[in-house]
């Protein structure tokens, strides 16, 4: 509740927009500036921002948010198959369908709270995952995954030449940097919406529900619809993220709904800092960046890396560390997650806050303080 917040909000948006749009430049030094990875950052960023609206504001921990990701992807591919290769309808329908599923799953799951809520969402997700592989094969194309084909209707597009058509935004092909910038635009919009919600009376009421739901009821609020709306918004963000996954490579598979995908967004959010605006994005950045590096490493690469050691030591070190790279990346992720939860439960954002507090104490320059408080927002 600080009055200057409204002025700051626009500053936050301006900084955020510039940072996202210039990401290819400032991520170059760490080698993360190729469109594929950048696009991944943006898509998972949207997913995590949406997840944080539910988990960060209300405290309800969903373990099934990957359902909406999968639903968004399938819907987008169906839009490519039936309507047009234009990505805009795909994204709109993907978001809406995510919302529809969130209404259904949320309505039932929100009858319980705490661990029971989490388990209900997990159960729904696993159910959807299995259905996608079995009875829903006509819609999902089962294990092969849903793809576009030459025979698709695409009623809004004219007849195509030979070869599969590519996804476009009104003629602009959605590959490489144009794909990234489309996702980046969506990320900026998503962040803006999240910022507004965090600062709004609605957001305050969600935070109050997280803090003491019983009291909210005696204060005159019907908490169920608040929770449902938060759930649906976060489901729509996930639907949007899912549909964006299909815009460069128009393909949707059930594995996107697997519980590991649901767990990943929980990790990202907690790692970065639950309930903070920027935290989930930091979590996404860290996890996706290191996933990219670690999962690409193999034993040969490790030998090269540790070549400076004596041979016997090199062999031991490589043997141990090879468990943590490539396929073993998830092991690294698990360790990283444990360390954060144990030593830094507020995630990276808490780390930043603690560090700035220390720095501030060391050098109490007034200009510095002002600069920090802007950066913190």
């Amino acid at each position: 509740m600080s009055i200057p917040a409204i002025r700051n909000d626009w500053a936050v948006m301006a900084i955020f927009t510039v940072a996202v749009l210039t990401a290819p430049l400032w991520l170059a030094p760490i080698g993360a500036n190729y469109p594929d990875l950048l696009q991944k950052f943006a898509i998972f960023g949207i997913f995590a921002i949406g997840f944080n609206i539910l988990f960060g504001l209300t405290g309800y921990l969903s373990f099934g948010h990957a359902v909406f990701l999968g639903v968004g992807s399938y819907t987008a591919v169906w839009s490519f198959k039936l309507l047009t290769m234009n990505v805009l309808p795909a994204v709109v329908f993907g978001t809406l369908m995510g919302g529809v599923f969130a209404v259904l799953i949320g309505y039932v799951s929100l009858r319980r709270s705490g661990i029971y809520f989490s388990i209900l969402t997990l159960a729904f997700a696993q159910m959807s995952y299995n259905l996608a592989y079995s009875v829903l094969t006509p819609i999902t194309n089962g294990e092969t995954g849903l793809q576009i084909t030459m025979n698709d209707a695409r009623i809004l597009d004219g007849p195509v030449g030979d070869g599969l058509p590519s996804t476009t935004l009104f003629g602009l092909e959605m590959s490489g940097y144009s794909g990234f910038y489309f996702c980046a635009t969506m990320l900026i919009i998503a962040f803006f919406i999240s910022l507004r919600i965090f600062r709004s009376p609605f957001g305050l009421k969600l935070k109050a529900i997280k803090s003491n739901q019983t009291r909210m009821k005696y204060t005159g609020f019907n908490t169920r619809p608040y929770l449902l709306v938060a759930f649906v918004i976060s489901g729509m963000f996930a639907g949007l993220a899912g549909s964006l996954m299909a815009i460069t490579d128009p393909l949707a598979g059930a594995e996107r709904m697997q519980w590991t995908a649901s767990g990943e967004v929980v990790l990202m959010t907690i790692l970065g800092g639950t309930g903070t605006l920027i935290g989930p994005l930091l979590g996404v950045g860290i996890i996706k960046y290191f996933e990219n590096i670690f999962s690409a490493l193999n034993e040969a690469g490790l030998h090269e890396f540790f070549a400076f050691m004596p041979d016997w030591l090199e062999n031991i070190v490589v043997a141990v560390s090879s468990e943590f790279v490539g396929e073993g990346w998830h092991l690294t992720l698990g360790v990283l997650f444990m360390l954060v939860v144990i030593f830094l439960p507020g995630g990276v954002m808490e780390g930043i806050r603690r560090t700035t507090a220390v720095v501030r104490n060391l050098s109490k320059g007034p200009e510095k303080k002002a600069a920090e408080s802007v950066g913190k927002e």
Binding site: M1, S2, I3, P4, A5, I6, D9, R196, I197, R199, S200, P201, F202, G203, L204, K205, K207, A208, K210, S211, N212, T214, R215, M216, K217, Y218, T219, G220, F221, N222, P225, Y226, V229
Partner: protein, 255 residues
């Protein structure tokens, strides 16, 4: 007295917990604009009676009529909007929010109703709500703490915050469950003054209190509850002189 100025009418309310008869056939009428005190030893059923009023507990039998409408079976948030608001005995604040946010939330409830999707306006633009919250907090001597984290306040401050959360809703009937317990003498006196001021504005109150100084400073009428039954009801003077009360509750202590 005419029927119309009875705000709350409790009729034959019974409540048992297992074998324990927590409330035994309670009858109580609260007149508009009056402050009614309920006193009684620990475990007498005072808080239980308030829980029945605000919909936290459903009685085994009996009715609670608030302004002519039966509250039994209504949801807590509906009862709140009907105008009956409770201030809790053990502080039920929002520990993760700031002090002023704790007061702004009930103010929003009053304005927004049971549900409103106002996700695109900014709290920074809620000048009126913020001013009102600030005003109530200053009245209670919490003006210096507005931006503090509510969870880390002292117990006495939390009690005052509780009171602020109730007052900002301008209820038709305010139910106060031991509002001064755990407060320093100075803050107790300040709270008494504030409650007197509210009374002048015509707010009807039920107040549960162990502190007899508070009770006799504020109450127009008093009921004595012991083991789930009202053993005496009357003006402060009548209660003071009632031998049954002396025996059951006061154990001969001076009134």
């Amino acid at each position: 007295m005419s029927e119309s100025n009875i705000v709350l009418n409790i009729r034959n309310v019974n409540k048992t917990f297992g074998g324990l008869h927590a409330l035994g056939d309670i009858n109580l009428e609260i007149e508009e604009g009056k402050t009614h005190a309920i006193i009684g030893p620990n475990g007498a059923g005072k808080s239980t009676l308030l829980n029945v009023c605000i919909g936290r507990l459903v009685p085994d039998s009996g009715t609670v009529e608030f302004e002519g409408q039966n509250m039994i079976g209504m949801q807590p948030h509906e009862i709140n909007h009907a105008g009956m608001v409770r201030v809790f005995q053990t502080p039920e604040i929002f520990p993760d929010l700031s002090v002023i946010e704790n007061v702004m939330v009930p103010a929003l409830a009053k304005r927004d109703g049971i549900f409103k999707f106002n996700a695109f306006s900014s709290m920074a633009g809620e000048k009126q709500i913020a001013d009102e919250a600030l005003h109530v907090l200053e009245d209670l001597g919490l003006g210096a703490l507005v931006n503090q984290h509510a969870g880390s306040m002292s117990r006495g401050d939390k009690r005052r915050l509780e009171l602020a959360m109730g007052l900002i809703q301008h209820p038709r009937l305010l139910l106060l469950d031991e509002p001064t317990a755990g407060m320093a003498r100075h803050d107790t006196n300040r709270t008494i003054d504030l409650l007197k001021k509210i009374k002048e504005r015509g707010m009807t109150k039920i107040i549960i209190e162990h502190d007899m100084h508070v009770v006799f400073s504020l109450a127009d009428t008093i009921s004595v509850l012991a083991q789930g039954c009202i053993i005496a009801s009357g003006t402060p003077d009548e209660i003071r002189g009632n031998p049954k009360v002396q025996e059951a509750y006061l154990g001969g202590a001076e009134l």
